[in-house]
Amino acid sequence: MIIMPTVQAEVLDDLEFSGFARIVAGYIDDEHAEFNGYENKVSLNQQSLIGLQVDYQIIDNLSATAQVIGRTGDDNDSGIEWLYLTYAPTKALRLKLGRQRTPVFSYSDFSDVGFAYNWVSLPQQVYQQFLFPNFDGLHANYEHIGENVSLSVEAYFGEIDRKYMFQGDSLNVNVDNIHGIVSTLGYESWTLRASYHRGDVDVTQQELSDFSDILRGVGFTQSADSLTNVGEAEFYQLSAFYEDLDYFFRSEVTRLRTELFLAPDSNGYFVSGGLNFSPFSIYASVSRDTNKYSASVSEIPIGANAQLDQLAFGYQEIVSLIGSNSTVSYSIGGRWDYRDNLAFKAQATLLKERDGYHGLFTYRDQTFDGKAMFYQLALEWVF
């Protein structure tokens, strides 16, 4: 009994709680369209969130971490984002086993921690969607610091079996054999990152699967195949960041190739530059993408009978929901670090559909001209 308080104190010493939170207000200055849940009135409940993390040091080189996120927004995927063991056999090598965020692009694994970057929203054309935000598996990181350069190599593999919400739809995502390699080179104020990721994806959207089964059942195999959401997905990424006391520059180029109906082949990039006047910073960014969906087929005869017409109409209706497109956004914004763990941000973005199908706005009426100003304010906190 006498030693209990000491034991408890030691346990508490090895246990750490921390977290982050963001309150984001957004407004689309156009009454004819909606964008990612934002519309022509101020909304606080699209990107606001809170994350809590607990770390427990089991022994010297072994620890356990859990991170839970509570989100707002229509695509509310609240829950356990990270749950893993970290084992560091040497100072240079770190292994993580469990549920983790997939480090696809430069900001992918900490996109929820708004305090860690300057934008209110990450450049839309690069970070708008990716198929596998989390995976369950093993991640290894090896780091080497030379006299003038630093080099880090990460590799991971695992699987995903989760239900996600995407633009209001429920998607069952199953990815086998997801793996990737990331190399990061640091030289003076530059950081260069290059990575490759791939997985065998099987996405189920129930209504789409049911319709595809009907098509296959009556012999329209090509039409059924064109709606498939089973296949390979590959991501390529390259980024160059520069940062010193006065200036920063960031650019990232991404490429996605998939065999899935719902996910287009995409190329995207952003270029961003800014100035620091500590505790303030300002920036301007340009971001652009092109998205190409697989071509539809004309297999079902029209006019033969009413049932076939219904099938053909159903097929055309589905493929009309998607279409190749290109979009661009121009942003300016600023950040004020009010305290060491508290920052305020503001961002104004011109969102614009460039050509092709309407790809950027989630809702539009007939008079919408394909471009709108998007204003955001944010409070970012870590604790």
Binding site: D112, L245, D337
Partner: protein
């Protein structure tokens, strides 16, 4: 009673070390380690890596001063090359992606120096020109 007097004297000695050369200390910093190998000399990149959680080929562990501290501001400016805001952002990224942890922080130069003297491998930054106790080694000074 004797122990209290010793502690008092120890504090006085540390106070002397910290502030005796304050006039020279205002504009520069040096990096000091408690290491048996007094031949260790790092370059700026290695010091930067050590204090940003990177791996360097020596058994050294970085400790730091708090954000508002003048010596830390000089260290950020002359060695890390990033604003305090960016450094805080970086540590938020590292913590919540399970990569690295920020160095332990001490309230002021005196408590940091006490920690350095007591812990082999501990490495911290102090105002340049300050008298350093014999047990510690200056492993980097700004050219």
């Amino acid at each position: 009673m004797g122990i209290l007097v010793k502690k008092y004297l120890a504090c006085l000695v540390l106070w002397y070390f910290v502030f005796s050369t304050a006039a020279h200390a205002a504009q520069s910093v040096m990096v000091v380690a408690n290491t048996g190998d007094q031949s260790i000399q790092l370059n700026r990149q290695q010091v930067r890596s050590l204090f940003m959680g990177g791996v360097i080929p020596y058994q050294l562990k970085a400790v730091a001063l708090p954000p508002e501290n003048h010596t830390r501001v000089l260290f950020n400016t002359k060695i890390i090359g990033l604003t305090e805001s960016r450094i805080q952002s970086y540590w938020a990224q590292m913590r919540f992606t399970g990569r690295k942890r920020a160095p332990r922080e001490f309230e002021n130069e005196t408590s940091l120096l006490q920690f350095l003297l007591r812990n082999v491998g501990a490495t911290g930054y102090l105002p340049a020109g300050m008298d350093v106790p014999e047990q510690l080694t200056v492993i980097y000074t700004i050219p």
